[in-house]
């Protein structure tokens, strides 16, 4: 069991470094570590993330957007180990700036060759990146769904 665990862990770690570097910079320092390599199944997983040449003492020192991207890199690494048939992101892009939203949507475009992605968002740039959009509206406390294109988008999102 430990062997299987370590094999999977090594793979996820490799994915993490690659995904992190595609979301941040190509030579950034990042890693996943086991708190107790002797007893992997009882360990915690530690994240080392030092974007753009910075030297934070822990991921807690990173900014809101940097933390979100780091957690997303970990989730995508797990995804690469065992791709789920579909992924749902509920307003994960809220803390991201324009440049990072573009990177985020590009990564989704890549992975969408193998899985479906459902993206809930308020962000216009993200809306431009999806294949099809559903608008959810509520009238007197009852929700319904309408297909959306950029012409009726204003009506749907301005309630």
């Amino acid at each position: 069991a430990t062997n299987k665990f370590m094999q999977a862990f090594t793979q996820v770690r490799g994915h993490f470094v690659r995904v992190f570097r595609s979301l941040f910079e190509a030579d950034d320092t990042c890693d996943l570590k086991l708190s107790d390599p002797e007893k992997p199944l009882e360990s915690r997983i530690e994240i080392i993330a030092k974007p753009k040449g910075k030297r934070p003492l822990s991921i807690n020192q990173l900014s809101g957007g940097e933390k979100t991207l780091t957690a997303t890199a970990l989730l995508f690494s797990l995804y690469l180990l065992k791709p789920a048939p579909f992924c749902i992101f509920d307003e994960v892009d809220a803390p991201l700036d324009d440049a990072n939203i573009a990177k985020f949507n590009n990564i989704i475009k890549d992975f969408s060759k193998n899985s479906q992605f459902i993206i809930v968002t308020h962000n216009k740039k993200t809306m431009e990146a999806v294949d099809i959009m559903y608008g959810v509206t509520m009238v007197k406390g009852v929700s319904k769904v309408v297909p959306v294109d950029f012409r009726n988008l204003q009506a749907v999102t301005l309630n």
Binding site: T70, L81, P85, T121, V130, V148, L158
Partner: protein, 165 residues
């Protein structure tokens, strides 16, 4: 395996029968605050067997039943159907399409169906547990999940890793 359709009726704010077709690769869901987008995410978690009410932002399971408004009384039950294409044979069944159906009545009783045949919650759990699709899977990334990973709340990172491994 691709998502084909989601149907909701009486589930949270979706009092009337609502059908969403997932035809494409990347599907955007938009709308103003409080209109029901996250309720759709909750519906998908729920029909896949979610039993933790706090993952559904509810104090008790019957809270997912449409609870009425000033002008309309509450529903008698909540119903969600999720239909997949079983195109890669991931689901160990001979069917080309698989539908998962969950109903919860006001009195707390539940009904589950797989391809319109009554079954137990356990059968649904078995069917999807190996596809990374269970409600706790890393595939559903609400903002709260990002937070748990960052703080490693209750060893969230290792638990998620074990699901994928």
């Amino acid at each position: 395996m691709r998502l084909k359709t989601l149907e909701l009726r009486g589930f949270k704010s979706f009092a009337d029968k609502t059908v969403i077709n997932f035809g494409e690769d990347v599907i955007g869901v938009v709308g103003s605050n409080g209109c029901g987008k996250s309720n759709i995410v909750d519906a998908i978690r729920w029909v896949l067997g979610e039993q933790k009410t706090k993952h559904l932002r509810s104090e008790s399971m019957t809270n997912v039943i449409f609870n009425g408004t000033k002008g309309r009384k509450s529903a008698g039950f909540a119903e969600v159907v999720l239909i997949f294409e079983n195109n890669k044979g991931i689901l160990p069944t001979a069917y080309r399409e698989v539908s998962i159906h969950r109903i919860l009545y006001k009195d707390g009783s539940s009904e589950y169906r797989l391809n319109d045949v009554k079954c137990r919650l356990k059968d649904i759990n078995n069917l999807i547990s190996d596809t990374g699709m269970g409600p706790d899977s890393y595939a559903i990334i609400a903002l709260g999940m990002v937070d748990d990973l960052l703080r490693d709340k209750e060893n969230a990172r290792l638990r998620l890793f074990e699901q994928a491994a």
